[in-house]
């Protein structure tokens, strides 16, 4: 149990580093990458917390977060590239 608490503490340190990059992040891509990494860290923290509280069935939620994180990162990057989510107009394709 103490090992999982130590893991959680280390993950929180990583979260703080990622948040610093997200708050300061000079370019847009720093922020996208930081948001994506933050989602991954949330998944890891939830898994570790599940073992700390001796209820590893939290792993289901961790899986959901991983999927949501993946989809929203794709959506964000598509938005950054084309400025829209729907139909991609031909003249915007070669940027």
């Amino acid at each position: 149990m103490y090992m999982f608490l130590a893991i959680t503490a280390a993950l929180f340190v990583a979260v703080i580093l990622v948040l610093v990059r997200l708050f300061a992040g000079p370019t847009l891509y720093d922020r996208v990458l930081a948001a994506n990494t933050f989602g991954t860290l949330t998944v890891l923290i939830l898994s570790a917390l599940g073992f700390v509280t001796e209820r590893p069935d939290f792993l289901d939620i961790a899986m959901l977060y991983a999927l949501v994180n993946f989809v929203s990162t794709i959506a964000i990057l598509k938005f950054v590239r084309y400025r829209s989510f729907g139909r991609i107009r031909p003249e915007t394709e070669d940027r």
Partner: protein, 187 residues
């Protein structure tokens, strides 16, 4: 068990600290794209808090809606507006005062509440035992929250789904799906 509780308390405090930091960053940030990212992070942090409170279904909803869909909706809105927030002209003193008064009223309202997690709270003694007793026999699934939401309050949940669907259709009709008209795109 006691060490567990202390650990969970520490985790809660860390989550709340990060939540406050994120909220301050959202207020101070001028770039709206960064604000959209940060609000996604805010929802993920609150979903983590819901998990430490054992509210798994709320955490599911917060993660799927808050971090996923609403970030995408905000970015869709961003395609129709400017990239940066306008400078505010008036001072923020009056809104700050209103916030403090409302917050103080809310905290005053919680003073009457029964202690958190006590065994003889009304929530523990009123209808919850009945659900716990009847669910295995009547519904037969292990998750009692799911049984209450999907079966005992099934019509209520269906109404909620209809409302959410109507709201989504309204937002999509308002935003459209194609963003700015072509040729007026800003870099």
């Amino acid at each position: 068990m006691n060490a567990n509780l202390v650990g969970i308390a520490i985790i809660d405090i860390v989550f709340f600290t990060l939540l406050v930091l994120t909220a301050v960053a959202i207020i101070r940030q001028r770039s709206l794209f960064a604000v959209a990212m940060l609000s996604g992070v805010f929802s993920l942090l609150s979903a983590g808090l819901f998990v430490t409170l054992d509210a798994m279904d709320v955490a599911f909803t917060e993660a799927a809606v808050g971090a996923g869909i609403s970030t995408v909706l905000m970015l869709g809105t961003l395609a129709l507006t400017d990239k940066d927030e306008m400078k505010r002209k008036r001072s923020a003193l009056l809104p700050l005062l209103v916030c403090f008064v409302a917050g103080a009223a809310l905290i005053y309202g919680t003073l009457d509440m029964p202690p958190f997690g006590a065994a003889d709270n009304p929530v523990q003694t009123h209808v919850a035992p009945e659900y716990i007793e009847r669910t295995p026999a009547e519904i037969g699934i292990p998750n009692i929250v799911a049984a209450v939401l999907a079966s005992y309050r099934g019509f209520d949940t269906m109404g909620e789904v209809v409302v959410v669907f109507a709201a989504l259709v309204g937002v999509l009709l308002m935003l459209g799906t194609t963003g700015r008209p072509s040729g007026k795109r800003k870099e």
